[in-house]
Each structure stands twice: as C-alpha cells, then as structure tokens.
Amino acid sequence: MKTLIAIKEADCNWMRETLPGTQPLLAPLCNKPFVEYLIDFAILAGCREIRLLSDGPLSQIEEYCGNGSRWGIELTYANLHPSDGEPELLRKNRKFCGEERTMILSGCTFIDYDKTLDYRGLASIDSGGTIASCPGGSITLAGPLEPSLTDQPLPPVGLTPIGDLKSYCRIAMTTLETGSSRYVLPGYGGEPGCAIGRNVTISKTAQIHKPASIGNNVRILPGAVIGPSAIIGSNVIIDKGSTIKESIILDNTYIGEQLEIEGRIASKNTLIDPESGVTLAMQDPHLLAGINGGATALVLWRKIVHALAAALLLLLLSIPFAILYPLLRLRGKWQDVPSIPNAGLAESIASAFSLDRYPLLPGVLTGRLAIIGSRTHENRAANHTGTDCRPAVFSYAETEAWAATESDAAIVERYHALHSTPLGDIGMTIQALINRIHYRNPT
C-alpha cells in the first residue's frame, strides 16, 4: 500500500499568523514535527512508499525529512493545485500510485492512533472511499484491495481537526499526557510522561512535574518549576524562579527571571494566549527580563575589568601580531584568518591567538566595545536593539560549541548578557579563545 499525504495552505491559515515562518507540516506537536505523526501512522498501516503533497513550498520539509531512509521508507515530494480533490490527486500521482491500494491523508488533522496496534488491515477493507473524516481533513482509500497481511481486526481510527491555535494546543497537551505509550515521542525518559532531550542542564533546585517534554540544548536555572503539562522546545533557557505550567515554549526562546507562564504559548519574544488568540510581542529581545533594573555601579566596574583584560591581551599578542600581520597582509590572506585551519604555520599561529580580533582590542580601552558580549564582526546589528546588547570583541556565543546558528547564538548571548559578572567575563573570554581554536580545528 502507498500513502499520499496532502496538505493545503488554506488548511492552516491560522498557523501563519501565530507561528510565522513555520511550515505547517513541521509545526511541533510535543517536540515532534506534525508530519512525523502522519508518517508513523502510514508506516503502521503497512506503507513503505509515501509522497508528501502541498500547494505551498516544500523545500523546508524536504530538508528535514530527506528521502525517508531514516524511517526505512521511500519518501517523495510533489505539488498540488489549491483546487485539487481526491480524484485529481490520484490522477496527478498516477505513476506513483500505480495499480496499488493508496491511502490519502488530507488536511490539517491529527490521527489518534496507537503504535502498539496493527493498522495493516486498511489495505484489505472494502469500505470504499473515506474511512474517517472531520472538518478540514479525512482518510481516504482508493485503488484495488490487497490481500491482508494480518488477521487482527482493524482498530478504530479517529481524527481531530487542527483548525486553530486552541485545538493545536489541546492536541499537543493530549499527546503529552498520553505520552510514549501510544506515540513515538522524542527524548530520553526512564518513566512515562517525562522525556528529556540532549544537552539539557537542570539545576538541582529546579522542579519538574510530570507530564513534561524537554527538547535539546535546554538550560533550566535554580528555582524554576516546569510542569505539570509543559512542553519545552530546543535551545531554550528558563531563568531563575520562573514557572511554566500547561504551556508550550517553542524553540529558541529565553524566559526571563521570576515569570509565570500558565496556559500560554511562548515563541521567541512573543507570548500567545491560545484561548483568546491575543498575542503580545515584547520589545526586549527576550521575553521580559523581570522587573528589576540593573545596577549602574556594575557598569563602571565592568568597563574597568574589560579594559584591563584588553590591555593584557594587547600586550601579550603584540609580538605575534607585529610579526604575522604584515606577513599575512602581503599574502592577501589576512581577511581569511578565522576561516583557514592549518593552512600554514603563520596562519595557524594567527588563528590560534585569535589575531583577527586584535585590531578590535583598542576599542575596549576607549570603552566603545566590551571584551566579551554580543558579536560585532557580523552584520547582526539589526537583531540587537535591546539594552542588554553589548558589542564586543568576542561573543558569548563563541564559548559554546553548539551555538552554531544565528538563533542559537542569540540565545546564548542574551542569557550571558543578563547573568555575567565582570570577573566571570574574563573566564568567558578565555573560554571563547580556547573554543575558537577547537571550532576551527575539529580534529
């Protein structure tokens, strides 16, 4: 049996307003993209060839799902026309369907399946046409019957529409509560109702109440309370004393100190109330830093410490810089120092000492730059309008090996910009120097 998974842009208009930039099929439901539930179900029904169809762009999904070898299936992609119904879908994909039984999963709907049950009976049931439907979607069978591979009676299949943010939230929460007994959910978890991803740091004084699902690269600080019913995405920081309850925190979000999030969706700097649809976008690059202002005495102290560190680095690196700068400049390779690994002795030394940043160091002495803070050497100024943005020679993101993408880096910078102490900054600078070497020489 084969499967066509068809989703139209019109089915998920609600998502574009509240979760902008998210491909509907990749919308996370309990930290797992929606499309994976559909694929899992198709596999349970005995399909090994699946085609994803949409009238919108598919490249994002293609990049994520690839050719399907991850699931042991063959995955292909095709486009459909907004006006297409089931007969048109079958006709347009006639070569793919061949003379086989085809299951069409259409619309933005959630299938209530159970991974322990056998759905292969779908290939041989003679109901003809739609076997389940709900507003906005259906499961339809077409093509000739196939001999049954199982004696089990066909388990019931239910559909729940995902027509708005409210239903999206409810389904995510139901999935979380049902947990891994019915669905294949990501993350590690010794006990049901709790799944935790990779590279997750949880403070000893933080509390986690089941059910909860936590993604990758997550940091939960002292006194934070997670759950019950909390879905935390990847690259998330939950700061001191904050509470997350019956809420979804989407990827790349920083939750400030002492906040209480209950029955909400948080995504980057936006807070959404799924019940009323009210959205609130904070001006701060992170979701509220709490209500306490920073102390001004600290600012001066920080400037002094940073200037001293910069002076020390200027002094220490002056000799290698004086020798290598003219040499590399003449060979026209200066610009590339950070990106050439071991190209030659001179380049290696230059990159090991981070000489590419040397010309920026005097800026710290004049107070224009910080020694460590937000990145300056890349065109990211537009993202940093908040008060905690400190343009600097080195960036906090450079201290963390995982912060490879723009948004990861932004998260790390936001966190440290709020939490660093002047002396701690020195340690971070050293860490950044070391990490930059490892970064470039992965061996």
């Binding site: 906040l259 209950e262 109330d273 609130l280 202002g293």
Partner: protein, 121 residues
C-alpha cells in the same frame, strides 16, 4: 496622561489615565508625574483602558508608584486592563500586587466602599 481628583466617596482619589505605550521611554515621565500626584493623595487609580503596550520597564514604574502609595498608607489600583497589558501582569506575577477593576469608576468607588481593607494593608 490625564489626571483628575475624585472626591465622590468621601475620600480623595487620584485617577490617572495612561495612554499608548509604556516602555523605557514612557516610564520616566510617569515616575515624575506620580511623585507629583503623591503629594495630592496616596489613593490612586490608573485607568489602563487606553494603554496599548507595557514592557518590563513600564511595569517597574507602576510597581514603583504602588510602593510609594503603600508607604503613604494609600494604595494604587488598576482599571480597564486590555488583554495584552493583562498578559504582562499575569506573566510577571505582578497581578498579585494589585487590585484590578474593570473600569476606573469601580476602582475609585472601591476606596470608599472598603476603608477597612485599606487599613489592613
């Protein structure tokens, strides 16, 4: 920011109407004005029905006003929060610090109606 004094309930209540956006740039004028209001009465009502946006610094300014009212044995009560503004109060647990009413009239009346409640605080 409009400010008027209401003496209908036998107690002088200052009603301030906050408008537009209350962020880092809007919070300084509020703090300044509220110091002036405090000299007239410690019983204040902030009518937020025309306040579109508030962020952490705006919230800080309002909490500052509350603290001064409490120090002068008064109270600061809020009225007519729009959903977006209410969300910020929920999020930061600041809601617990304030008595919140649906409109300015009710908030002002509450001072007269429950004088004991004020004494308790």
């Amino acid at each position: 920011m409009k400010f008027r004094l209401d003496t209908q309930n036998g107690i002088t209540v200052g009603i301030a109407e906050l408008e537009g956006r209350l962020d880092a740039s809007g919070s300084a004028p509020l703090q300044k004005a509220s110091a002036d209001w405090q000299t007239k009465t410690p019983f204040l009502v902030f009518d937020c029905s025309r306040l579109d946006f508030i962020d952490s610094s705006g919230l800080g300014a309002i909490v500052g006003c509350l603290r001064r009212s409490l120090e002068n044995n008064g109270d600061l009560r809020l009225a007519g929060l729009t959903p977006k503004v209410a969300m910020v109060f929920d999020l930061t647990k600041a809601r617990k610090l304030f008595s919140i009413f649906s409109n300015a009239g009710e908030a002002a009346a509450s001072f007269g109606a429950t004088p004991t409640a004020i004494q308790e605080r």
